[in-house]
Symmetry: C2
Subunit: 192 residues, 2 copies
Amino acid sequence: MGRKAYFNNEEFINSAIKIIAEEGLGALTIAGLSTRVTAPVGSVYHRFPSRDALIAELWLNIIESFQGEWLKILQTDGLKAMLFCMEWVRNHPNEARVMLLYRIDDLTSGEWPENLKKRAQKLSGELQEGVAAFTKKQFGRATKENIDRTFYAIHDAPMGILRRYLQNNQMPPRYVADFILETYEAVMKKTK
Amino acid sequence: MGRKAYFNNEEFINSAIKIIAEEGLGALTIAGLSTRVTAPVGSVYHRFPSRDALIAELWLNIIESFQGEWLKILQTDGLKAMLFCMEWVRNHPNEARVMLLYRIDDLTSGEWPENLKKRAQKLSGELQEGVAAFTKKQFGRATKENIDRTFYAIHDAPMGILRRYLQNNQMPPRYVADFILETYEAVMKKTK
DNA sequence: GACATAATAGAATATCTATTCCAATACTCT
DNA sequence: AGAGTATTGGAATAGATATTCTATTATGTC
């Protein structure tokens, strides 16, 4: 039933990620994306209702991929979760640039399709829960301050420094791991 | 000689900062800015050669203001410099949002006017020097790793967590100071 | 092989907003 | 007062690009 597809969603998503990572969000035009994939614009709109939806989709893909692994590791080991941030950035430079250098609020403007909203909510919920659970395990009680403390140690601080390298189109040096490790140990001591 | 000005550059700059901080970069249109200031668009273009130039100008104003004080403090005390980040964000919420949530590369697209380029270069140079000098004072030698370490402790880590609150339109709680303080002490011990 | 349909093709359209441009004003200086 | 000019005022223009729309082309089914 119907013609066979030459292209597939992933091609468009991945090319779009590359464009944003390499040339910035402004460089992501539907015409440009089509050219890059050697597809007609119609084939983009055949798959994605709008540019915003395409961007939301790629954003969710990235976050789901990162956060899924990260939370799994976090269930057993905070230290590893923190170091995983660094490895992930090194292994997914394009995705990392999109995730760290842009905020979703600025990537898209209009309303999101319902199904994407759901995915976003799910991600947000899982994040909250995962970090809260780890905080409780670590400190006994998951107060707001303790949760913030945890989030700082395993996410904000590592991502803060990694962002700087990505901004300058550099690969984070290995020794960055020392910094965030020392932070983790200092900030996550028990009995806080 | 000539008509007296109703408006002044600062009005436009400050309103533009507010617009970006409150509604995002995309909401900053020349027509919208004019409306907000109750000025005609001609008066914007009378002062700024282009939207990009206006944005570059407001960006430089913010960075100069922040970095100037910050580096001065850094000359004498790293701990205070780090805490200053936090106070500055609390005291300049709009400017902080622009500085922390956007990167200048994405704010503007075209070439900058020559004079703005100069200002940007000056800022960049002063930053390098200031941090290198402090690193040398702290660790004896300003190796690349030590400079990165310093930068992490007094800038990346604090800004990393502050960014998260700004993203959620929240004021960073006071206890954030504890986190970054503990980080500083752990990461900046001598003899590294 | 004809039909139904999924997908490609890409030209035409619609929209948004930066920028231009030309008057109209109000101020200073002589 | 008149000349010269900086500035306001805002309508008109231009350019970019997201989106629509109407073929056209394959593919599976009967």
